[in-house]
Every structure is written in C-alpha cells, then in structure tokens.
C-alpha cells in the first residue's frame, strides 16, 4: 500500500512539473519573462494535489495511484491553456479572463475530491439511498427547464443561474443517476436477466422490475427533447445500456438499446432543425464554412497547423476557434502541442479509463463493480463524444473535455467521480473513523 502511494507521489510530481513548466513557458512566450506569479501558482497547485495525496495516504491508502495524478496533469494543462487563451483575448473589449475562475474551480474541485474521500468511507453507504439519488438526479436534470432558473445558451438549455452563480446541473445529475442505476441493477440483475415475457423477438423481464429503468431512459429522452442537449443525452443513454449489459450479461439489452437509440436519433433528426444542421455540417463542413461549420473548420485548421510537433505554447492562434476554452479546447491543444501532445492526452484518458475498469474488476461487491463501470464509462463516453466531435469522427455535440475544458460544474463533477473510483478501489482496508474536515475557505483567496 505504501508503494502505491509512492507511485502516486512521483507521478503527481511529474504532473506538477509539466503543468508549472507549461505555465512558465506561456508567460515567457507572451511577455518574455517568467510570470511573476509562477512560484505562487506552483506552490498552490503543489499544495492542493499533495494535500489530496496526503488525504489518500491517510483515509484510502490502497486507492488507485493513477487517477489523481492523471486528473492533476489534465487539469494543470487545461488551466495553462485557459490562461493562454486569456492572453490572446485580452485585447478584446469587455473580455472577462477565465483563468482566475478556472483556478478557483480547481481549488474547489480538489476540495470536493477530498470531501468525498473523507465523507464516504465505504461506497456501500450510497447503496442505501438509491431512490434519493434517482430523485436528486431527475430534479437536477429538470432544473434548466424551469422558467426562471434555466438559461438557454447556444441552442441548448442546460444552464441554471442562481444569483451570480451558474452551472450545468447535468454534470452532477450524471453521477447521481449512475449511483442509482448501479444500486438498482446490483439488486435486480437476476430478475432482469430472467426473461418471462416475450415481445416480438425480445424476451423481456417483468414490467415492474423494468419500470425504474424505463424512467432513466425517459430522463435521457427528456434531456434530448427539452434541453436540446445531444451530448448529455447520448451520454446518459450510453451509460444506461452499458450498465444494463454488465449487470445482466444479455446482449439483447444492447441490441434493444441500440434500437431505441437509433429510433430516438431518427426522431430527433426529423424534429429538430439544429440536429439536421449538425449532421449536415459533420458530413460536409466546408459547405457550411461561413456559418454553422465555421467553428468546426477553425478547429480543423488549428489541428492541421499544429501538425505533428505543434506550434508550441502561445505560438499558435487557437483563439481563432470560437469557444476554444470549452468545447474546442482539444483543437487548441492540437495546434500548440501537436499530434504528440494530443496523443499523450488521449493516452492519459485511456489509462485513467482502464484503471477505472480495473477497479470495477477488482471491486468486492456487485454495487461497487457497477458503480465503477458506470462512472468510468460516463467519463470515457464524454471524452469520446467531444474529441470525436471536434475531430469530425462523429457529429459535433457541445460537451466539456473532462478536467481540461473551462467550466466549474464539469470540474467539480469529475473530481467527485474520480474520488468515488478511488474510494471503491480502496476496498479491503476499513477506513478509520474520523471527522470529515470541511474544505478550507482560506485556500480560495490564496489563488485569486
């Protein structure tokens, strides 16, 4: 166990060196001098992640040693890119720098990570409140549709604004629903696997066991139809089908799921103009260059200009891509760090996903297995949907790149996600009783 934490420590140091190094290079490239805040930045970042590391040593010594350094590296590089885009956009009028906010979100994200590790000493406690999770997930999903709270931005209604704070509750809903699905399926998997009814070519289990799952499916359709958010809908539904398959081992669920997905996609295509534009833009981005395809085309130009080695930090023009800091941050990395850089990033994601699946394999109980699979596949699907969209592998749907994109909700949710995975992987050592320490609000002001 000690060796696991030591591996984590060395990897964390590597991640910190890369992040702080990138930060210094961007400053050098922009102003020809080492940014004055470098030391403070490095110290804060090191304090945060080493702090989280110490909490793991203390409360979850057997936890997976790859996830936290992976998150730290992606988060650190993302932060540098967001700051680098700030430099480029600074000349614009009324431009609000995003890096300070993202730094704050990073602090809060690590605080969430620590809080989850401290509060949830055994993942099985989550199992007890399964219907509360369902309720929470559904409520969070529906918030953006509410008239006063909800905000429609760029054609999708997935924002909630309360006073000065805004966020995408779907990010949190994702985790709540995965917890519910895992809990539900862990208990009912035998019943669901035993088919009693025949409906056409499909053998179906008793309807009453199936109802909550239909509810989850309805929720994903809800997201699609009322919030016009293709990405999240695909994410929910994909995770739902994968969990159903893992729990029951029945391919018929996958086939039925694909059938439902295709049906939903065809309906959405015929019903919504913006879905048709997305598909048309995907098929021929150059025909739509002047309007709907502009962003995608700019992203492709950025990646093409980056080539194999990239232009180098602050040497490209990723600010030409609309929404470079959120949906298109992958293309920004492609331009400045090149094929080598983005391949390395994708391999980090792949490594984290495989660690997550390993955690699922090793988890002692069905709930833990399903929870780990659900969390990690939602993470992997999110990477696939946005990277695939930006690289024109699939039609583009706006969604954040985990840990890298600018955006608080996404960062907090993903830290909670890896914290849960760390917790599941720590099974075997009973967590010592301890009072959960609240996140220190003093840390926040340090970074700002």
């Amino acid at each position: 166990m000690e060796s696991r934490r030591n591996v984590e420590l060395s990897l964390l140091l590597l991640a910190l060196i890369l992040s702080v190094g990138a930060y210094v290079i961007v400053g050098l490239a922009a102003d020809n001098e080492v940014p004055s805040g470098s030391a403070g930045y490095g110290a804060t970042l090191a304090g945060l992640f080493l702090g989280a590391h110490m909490v793991l040593r203390w409360k979850a010594p057997q936890a997976d040693p790859i996830l936290l350094p992976g998150a730290a590296l992606l988060n650190g590089l993302g932060l540098v890119m967001v700051r680098r885009l700030d430099y480029a956009e600074a000349a614009k009028e009324n431009y609000r720098p995003e890096a300070p906010a993202q730094a704050l979100w990073t602090v809060l994200g690590v605080a969430v990570f620590v809080a989850v590790i401290l509060v949830i000493r055994d993942h099985r406690v989550l199992d007890r409140y399964r219907y509360s999770w369902l309720l929470l997930g559904v409520v969070l999903l529906m918030l953006p549709v509410l008239p006063v709270l909800g905000r429609e931005i760029n054609g999708a209604r997935l924002w909630v604004r309360i006073g000065p704070f805004s966020g995408q509750p779907a990010e949190a809903a994702k985790i709540a629903l995965v917890v519910f699905l895992a809990a539900y399926l862990a208990e009912r998997k035998e019943l669901l696997a035993t088919a009693t009814y025949r409906a056409g070519p499909f053998l179906l289990p008793e309807i009453k066991y199936f109802m909550p799952l239909l509810l989850a499916w309805a929720a994903s359709l809800f997201v699609l139809f009322f919030e016009k958010d293709l990405g999240s809908s695909l994410l929910f539904f994909g995770v739902f089908v994968i969990l159903l398959y893992v729990a029951t081992g029945r391919f018929s669920y996958v086939a039925a799921g694909l059938g439902l997905f295709v049906t939903g996609a065809v309906i959405a295509y015929n019903l919504f103009g913006h879905v048709q534009t997305r598909v048309a833009t995907w098929l021929d981005v150059w025909a739509y260059y002047d309007d709907r395809g502009f962003q995608l085309a700019q992203g492709l130009f950025a990646m093409a200009t980056g080539g194999i080695l990239g232009q180098g930090w602050n040497q490209g023009r990723p600010d030409f891509i609309p929404f470079a800091s959120t949906d298109f941050i992958f293309a920004a990395f492609g331009e400045e760090l090149g094929l080598l850089g983005v391949t390395a990033m994708l391999l980090v994601y792949l490594l984290m996903v495989f660690r997550g699946l390993r955690i699922a394999l090793a988890a002692p109980d069905d709930f833990g297995k399903l929870l780990a699979v659900g969390l990690v596949t939602s993470f992997a699907l999110q990477v696939f949907v946005i990277v695939g969209g930006v690289t024109r592998l699939i039609p583009l749907t706006g969604i954040t790149l985990p840990f890298v994109s600018f955006g608080g909700s996404s960062l907090l949710a993903n830290y909670a996600l890896i914290a849960l995975l760390c917790r599941i992987s720590d099974e075997g050592t009973p967590a010592p009783a301890g009072r959960p320490a609240p996140a220190d609000p003093g840390e926040v002001t340090v970074v700002r």
């Binding site: 130009f301 994708l346 394999l361 696939f384």
Partner: protein, 487 residues
C-alpha cells in the same frame, strides 16, 4: 460480471483507437491541405509579418499599401490599406484576415509577398545580409484620370465601364457599381470584418461582384457590330442594299422580329449595311444573321474571344454564343438577344479589336512587378491573338461605327475635335423590365487610343432603341474625353 466488464474494456479500446486515429488524419495526412487553405487565417499571420508590396498606378500612385499596425497588442505587424477607398476595389480585390484574398491581391500574391521564383535572386542577397525581404510592387495599367472619370460618369447607376488601350490590351479603366470598400474587410478586427462581410454578401445589388469582368449580359444591338463583321467577311459590302422591312417574318416560326417600338427603318424597304448599322435596324440584321447561318455568326464572334476563357489576368466570365442554333434563334442572336451572353470586358475587346485594325490583344491590368530597389522583376503583356479579322473589314467597321456616332443612334458620344466610332445597344433581358443600356466605342489620336464598353443595367426604355445611346453613350464619351485630355 467481470466477463462483461472485460468486453466493455475491448469496446473502450476500439473507440479510443478511433479517437487516436482522427487527429492523426487531421494533423498529418490532411495537414498540408488544410494548413494552406486560404481560409486558414493562420497562414495570413505569417504573411502579415512581411511588408507586403504596394499596388500602384503610374507615378507610384498607391491604390493598396501595407503600413505598420498601430493597434496596441496587435500580433499582426502590417495592416493593408486602400488609400483610394472603393475606387480600385474591382481590380485590387481585398486582403482580409478572415476572408482571405481576391483578385490582384490573390493572383499576384507571391509577387506581393516577395516569394515568387523571379524574386529569388533578391531573396538570397537578403538572406546573406539578414534583411527582411519586402514584397514586390505591383504596377497596374489603370489610368488615374480615366478611372476617376469612369466612376464619376457611371455615378450611382448599376452597371460597369471598361476602357482598354486597343494597341496593347492594357486596361485603362474598369469600374462597376455598386462597389465595396476593401478597407472594410482588411482591418485587423475580425468582428468588424464579419459584420461588414455580412452586409456586403446580403446586399441584393451584389457590391462584391465586379460587373465589368464577372457579369454576363445580353449585348443587344452592340452585337450587330459582330454580325456586320461576319457579313463583310462573307462577301457583303458596306454599300450593298439590304432588305429593311418593318416586320421581318422569321422563317420556321410565327414570331416576327420588329424594330424597337415597332418603328420603321425607313428607306423604302432597303438600306445599305452602313445605314442599317447607323440607325440600328433590327430587321436588316436579323435577316443577315439568318442568311449567314448560326455557325458563321458564332465563328465570327469567336474571333473576338467568345466561347473561350478570358485571357484577362484576373477572374472573368466567359462570353458565349451557341455554335448551332435553329433559324429563329439565329435571327435573334444576330441582334444580340436570345442566348448571346457577354461581359463588358468582352465588348470592350470587340471595340478595341476593330480600333486596332483587326488585331486582337487580350486585356491585362497588371503590367509589371518592381522590387523595392526599383528594378523590374517581371513584365506582363496582353496576349496577342494576331490579325483575327482582315484589316479591310476592320476599316469598314470603323467607318460605319463613325457614322453611328456622327449622325446615328450614338450621337451622344460625339467629342468635338475627335473622331469617335461606336455602337449603341438596348438589350432586353426580362419581360416587363427596362432593357440594359449599352455603348461600345473607340477614339484616339496619335499615341493615345482608347476603346470603351459601357453597360447600365435597366438603363434603357422599353420601346425605344435610342435610349441605350442616351444613357450609355455619354458615359463612354466622358471616359474617352478624360483619357484624351479633354477633361
């Protein structure tokens, strides 16, 4: 359950393989094509660090130039300026951060950047002396006074004016209305550029379209010059009496051809070829066309450059006439209607070829590239197509066209002290719309020779042939007078 998880892992692996392959495609396989796409503004960033050469007229009169950007924190070193505003935009084109380059800025880009092979010797010295290579200066053939006169004479009417030097093909003036101001697209403010662009492309009048070279119109009666040339080459002489009925009963159809407004050509049933051209008699020329046949008519037009890509250095539309037509269509083609489509640049070439004694010179607007040290890097000339019509025929046509201006439909083009030749046109293009007003002509004395084509969209009057001459001829007159020094 673990078996399923392992299967999920395989699916994840396959999906990530696809994810890894996608950037490989964009950043390696498709990289060259995309990185050099003219819409990729990153390519421009590199270009903007070079002092792009100016575009000038004679006496170094600048119509496009690069100056250091004064915007604070601007990553682009030089900004393109068009000191004359919209006046030369139809030749210079624009140089835009967002929308790339057009026209001269595009076609002569490598010269302006100092990267053409001809400039290589210069670059080596610059390499040795570690000097930043400034781009070459592009010198245009346009004449400042003539260009200004053309713009002024056309005024706010939709249309185009082209003036050529008949002996060389040099474009002396080229204007179009509506115009755009290239400065609106050349700033370093992408949002402003995009706003201006939106307005320009959504403008139904098409201010970005260079009507002088890029638009096609029916030529109307100005095409009778080509029909007359075909007749002269096929044995008709200027003084031959030709039938001039009030109504020409076109064979094979019930549709007749009449004169504008149903007027009579007079002359008691016959006219000489000269007379028919002077008063622009439709029935005479329609009958002539039918007699010649569509193939001879098209062959004559092709001598002037129809049905071939324009030799002009910048993008231009191809003027056309069908090679094979039935009799009714041939009758209409002979008077410049039906499927005959011409650009003003093409009609200016028709006038210039006649003015030049039948020797056709392809139009050109960029005459040379000069290095920043003043040495000529490259010269351009109009393509010489040789004696496309016999000198005798050209001489006859000139005499006939002088009659048109002297006492025919083109009297409004008369300039005291100069012999002006010309032909008017009033081209019908759509039911219920006013016809386009045309004038082509030329004049000269000694070393100064000029041929002009003018079109004013819907500048004519339904039912009156004379209106083409009334609207377009004075514009041509002003342009010719400006070049000849008459003010």
């Amino acid at each position: 359950m673990n078996r399923q998880i392992r299967r999920v892992a395989v699916v994840v692996l396959v999906a990530f393989m696809a994810l890894l392959a996608a950037p490989l495609y964009w950043q390696v396989l498709a990289a060259d094509r995309l990185a050099n796409d003219s819409r990729n503004t990153r390519v421009l960033i590199k270009e903007y660090s070079i002092e792009r050469g100016p575009i000038v007229l004679a006496n170094n009169f600048e119509v496009a130039r690069s100056v250091r950007s004064t915007r604070r924190g601007d990553p682009l070193e030089f900004v393109r300026e068009y000191p004359q505003g919209p006046r030369y935009g139809m030749v210079t084109g624009f140089y835009s951060l967002v929308f790339g380059r057009t026209l001269a800025e595009q076609e002569f880009n490598s010269f302006l950047l100092g990267r053409a092979p001809e400039q290589f010797g210069q670059n080596v010295t610059d390499l040795l002396t570690a000097r930043e290579t400034p781009g070459g200066t592009l010198v245009l053939t346009l004449d400042r006074a003539t260009q200004a006169a053309a713009e002024g004479a056309l005024g706010g009417r939709k249309g185009a004016v082209v003036a050529l030097d008949p002996r060389t093909g040099a474009v002396l003036a080229m204007t179009t209305f509506p115009r755009y101001n290239p400065n609106q697209l050349s700033s370093h403010n992408p949002e402003e550029i995009r706003r201006n662009w939106e307005r320009l492309i959504n403008d139904e009048d098409g201010p970005l379209l260079n009507r002088a070279a890029g638009a096609l119109y029916p030529p109307g009666s100005t095409f009778k010059v080509v029909t007359a040339a075909a007749a002269l080459e096929n044995g008709t002489s200027m003084s031959d009496e030709l039938p001039s009925p009030d109504v020409y009963d076109v064979p094979q159809t019930s549709a007749d051809i009449r004169n504008f407004g149903g007027s009579s050509c007079g002359g008691g049933g016959t006219l000489t070829l000269t007379e028919a051209l002077r008063i622009s008699c439709n029935t005479t020329f329609a009958a002539l066309g039918v007699e010649l046949g569509s193939e001879k008519l098209a062959a004559e037009a092709e001598k002037f450059g129809f049905n071939q890509p324009s030799p002009y250095q910048l993008p231009a539309a191809t003027s056309s006439i069908p090679e094979e037509q039935d009799v009714p269509a041939t009758a209409q083609s002979a008077i410049g209607q039906r499927d005959v489509r011409v650009s003003p640049l093409q009609m200016a070439t028709v006038a210039a070829t006649i003015a030049n004694g039948g020797r056709r010179m392809g139009p050109f607007v960029a005459q040379r590239v000069v290095s920043d040290k003043g040495s000529v890097v490259k010269r351009f000339e109009g393509e010489d197509f040789g004696q496309v019509i016999p000198e005798q025929v050209a001489g006859d046509l000139r005499d006939m066209m002088r009659q048109v201006v002297e006492s025919g439909t083109g009297v409004n083009a008369r300039i005291p002290g100069l012999e002006v030749a010309g032909k008017t046109g009033t081209a019908q293009h759509a039911q219920g719309r006013n016809p386009h007003a045309w004038f082509i002509g030329f004049t000269g004395s000694g070393d100064r020779q000029i041929a002009v084509a003018v079109v004013v969209e819907e500048g004519g009057d339904v039912g009156s042939e004379i209106t083409g001459g009334r609207t377009a001829a004075p514009i041509a007159r002003d342009v010719m007078r400006a070049y000849m020094g008459g003010g």
